[in-house]
Symmetry: none
Subunit: 262 residues, 2 copies
């Protein structure tokens, strides 16, 4: 996709953040995590003692994020995955058990990471599917990040957790970097101004009187309701043209019918 968007890609691709998965059991989760990362512009994946890797299931679930998988580094212990990192953050579903760590929500964590200098390397550690991070592994972490979940069902999939953290980082990174170039292209038409709205209301009132829906001797309540209705929409010029066209067609019809009278 997008051959001429290399610059945009580089702006999006972030080497600052490294995702570290520990002893992942299901290779499909590794692939899904790679996809989750890439879709938010992250590329650096470390796998600590994965049960099965490489694996066809990982590739299948990566769905085009093969490059992230191919560049993934497999190491045997967490310490190897974080040796060159400046900041190490652990993910935990059971936040209340670890009171001694600074705890951030996923949102606060995204903001915190985005604020760091680009030359800092930040590792975010995701534990095993069933048991999360061990106490030894938590010892490597300077802080924890917690994703709020249903108290009765906190079985957040590890790739889904990677998705949420990557997303939060991405959102904040976009905000702190210069506004994205595509922003203006996404702009909608500007709504019409008040003068145009008044012209529309007058045309509407006249037309409603013509078709005898409105009693000209007491138009106020009906027009007030209609103003409240149409005033809630930011009507853009092309839409206003349609509305005025409908009103004119209503009047034109009436005019034509009158002319046809013998």
């Amino acid at each position: 996709m997008g051959k001429n968007s290399m610059k945009t890609t580089q702006e999006w691709q972030q080497d600052k953040v490294r995702i570290v998965l520990i002893e992942t059991s299901h290779p499909g989760n590794i692939g899904a995590a790679a996809r989750a990362m890439k879709v938010m512009g992250l590329v650096e994946l470390y796998l600590v003692a994965p049960k099965h890797f490489p694996d066809p299931q990982a590739i299948a679930m990566a769905s085009g994020a093969d490059d992230v998988l191919q560049q993934a580094k497999v190491v045997s212990h967490l310490s190897e995955a974080i040796t060159d990192c400046h900041i190490v953050i652990g993910t935990s579903a059971r936040s209340q058990r670890y009171l001694q760590w600074p705890l951030r929500t996923a949102r606060e964590c995204g903001e915190y990471i985005a604020e760091q200098d680009e030359d800092k390397k930040i590792a975010i550690i995701f534990g095993r599917e069933r048991t999360g991070l061990s106490n030894d592994e938590l010892d490597y972490c300077q802080s924890l990040v917690h994703i709020p979940t249903n108290p009765d069902y906190h079985s957040l999939n590890v790739a889904a957790a990677v998705q949420l953290i990557s997303y939060e980082y991405r959102i904040h990174q976009k905000q702190t970097s210069s506004s994205p170039p595509e922003y203006n292209e996404n702009r909608q038409e500007l709504p019409v101004n008040q003068k145009s709205m008044e012209g529309f209301y007058q045309h509407l009132e006249k037309t409603l009187a013509d078709i005898r829906y409105l009693d000209p001797s007491n138009p106020r309540l009906l027009m007030r309701r209609l103003r409240r209705l149409f005033g809630r929409i930011d009507i853009v010029p092309s839409e206003m043209n349609i509305l005025r066209g409908i009103l004119s067609a209503m009047q034109g019809r009436k005019f034509k019918t009158r002319n046809k009278k013998p």
Copy 2:
């Protein structure tokens, strides 16, 4: 888990939001979406013409969210999935193509949904894995939600998208859930449901054809623009009565004039 946390569960479980998946190809994605929902407290899942359902892969990927799968309703067309809904939101990766829909980021969407009254039903529609939502399906949507992704790789998995939207809703719902009880007493009328909107659009289309503003052999673009226009307002029943009254007056006028012909 947590036998004595029934109250907490109820606070978390939200019937306000319905997740609708359209023609999902991979049953594993349905299961993963159910898990993504439940972990954020959502329970209501509608499946429009899924390729394979029920399916062992869906159950495997649901990983304990079997109840969400079991309660999932399978329907053959999107209209059946949203007929009782007050707000219909479509998800789109290609935001810039659809300029006339109000577009929210996932974050803004979460805030918007959380702000709605509890007795409103809100459907969030997720399209096919490869091709998303069709134009016909987009016509049912009042607004769109967009998740920002890597411009060169926007292959966000559908269950990951459900996870992000459910998460954003959950975050904001927690923030707004403590609103005082008297808040509801001050509320305005509830907007009409989707069935009422469809009835209005049919009446509008017929009337516009009657006054020859619309060419019945090619009605789609005009009706699409008008759906986009009126779909942006939460029309309440008393306002709908006025709009339908105007349409009837337009038709009645025509009828009367014809009768007057000698």
